[in-house]
């Protein structure tokens, strides 16, 4: 089972936030991606700085008029706090990502990093 103390802060936005706000959240937190949440704090997508470039700037779209849900990558993979580090590691390895959102009853708790999942998997998940 994944321990809460092994998670790190997750930067988030709401699905109805406009893209200008999303880009400013990324700037103000110095992160490269954020998790998009619905009204119930459930992760519904992910937006990276590359998405902002490819789906907004390069397409000449207006960031004030676009909403986060219109440019996010949908169906974000998540793991439950009750899952194992092994499972989290395998999902990240398959997706080629460096972190994965961890949820309890579908609600976001934080992020688990790839290296931490790998290390904890090696020592039996404790």
């Amino acid at each position: 089972m994944i321990q809460k103390e092994h998670l790190i802060d997750a930067v988030v936005c709401r699905e109805n936030d406009n893209v200008l706000e999303v880009s400013r959240i990324l700037r103000d937190t110095q992160r490269r991606h954020l998790i998009v949440l619905d009204k119930e704090d459930k992760p519904v997508g992910i937006i990276s700085t590359v998405d902002l470039n490819n789906r907004v700037l390069a397409e000449e779209k207006d960031p004030k008029k676009l909403k986060a849900k219109e440019i996010m990558t949908k169906s974000t993979k998540v793991v439950s706090i009750e899952d194992t580090y092994e499972k989290a590691f395998q999902i990240m390895a398959e997706l080629g990502t460096y972190s994965i959102p961890v949820v309890r009853n579908g609600k976001l708790l934080g992020l688990l990093e790839f290296t931490r999942a790998f290390n904890l998997k090696q020592v039996g998940g404790k």
Partner: protein
Amino acid sequence: MGLRDLVHKMPETRKELSDYVIKNNRHVKKLIEKNPDYKSALEEAVSSTFDKYSEYLKGWKNKLSGAGHVVGYTADAWLFATGDIIGTLGGKFINFLAQMPEKAYSLAYAVRTGNYLDAAQNILEGALSYIPGLTFADQGLTRIIQKRMASDALTKFEKEVGIYKSWTAKVADTLKGLYKGVKDRAKNVFTPVYEPKLALQRA
């Protein structure tokens, strides 16, 4: 008290911890000079922090580690003086054995307090210090905990007097003036709240 304390003394008592926080944080000193009531807020923060960590500063493991460091430093000096790598590694091995109980104890400390990074730092520094000439790389668990105490006491004090800044506020401060519409984005951060079970049982 370790050899490093001869150069930079770390706090071992409540009074020393309080003085250390004031000495190393100018803004705390200024606040207390302006308003002496803040001194009691600092004393409270120091006291609760010291109560939490003081038990991990005692014990034979820490003393054995300190003695091991003396052997390690001697081995390093022997290497620099004679170039005898075999003799040095012998001394370093004694140091290595002397560090084992303390490194194992650092895991128990981490589980009870939630400070996993402290334990990881202690173990990594210990591994690095086994390289001839690098005994100084291992500051020991005691010193890591003393630094943690100073940092925790400062955080508690800052929260108490309302000047604590989260990482989001600090990032925003550095960006203000550079870009338009910079804000503290604390509301956009989900922080996993962790209370160590063992620490709660002890309280």
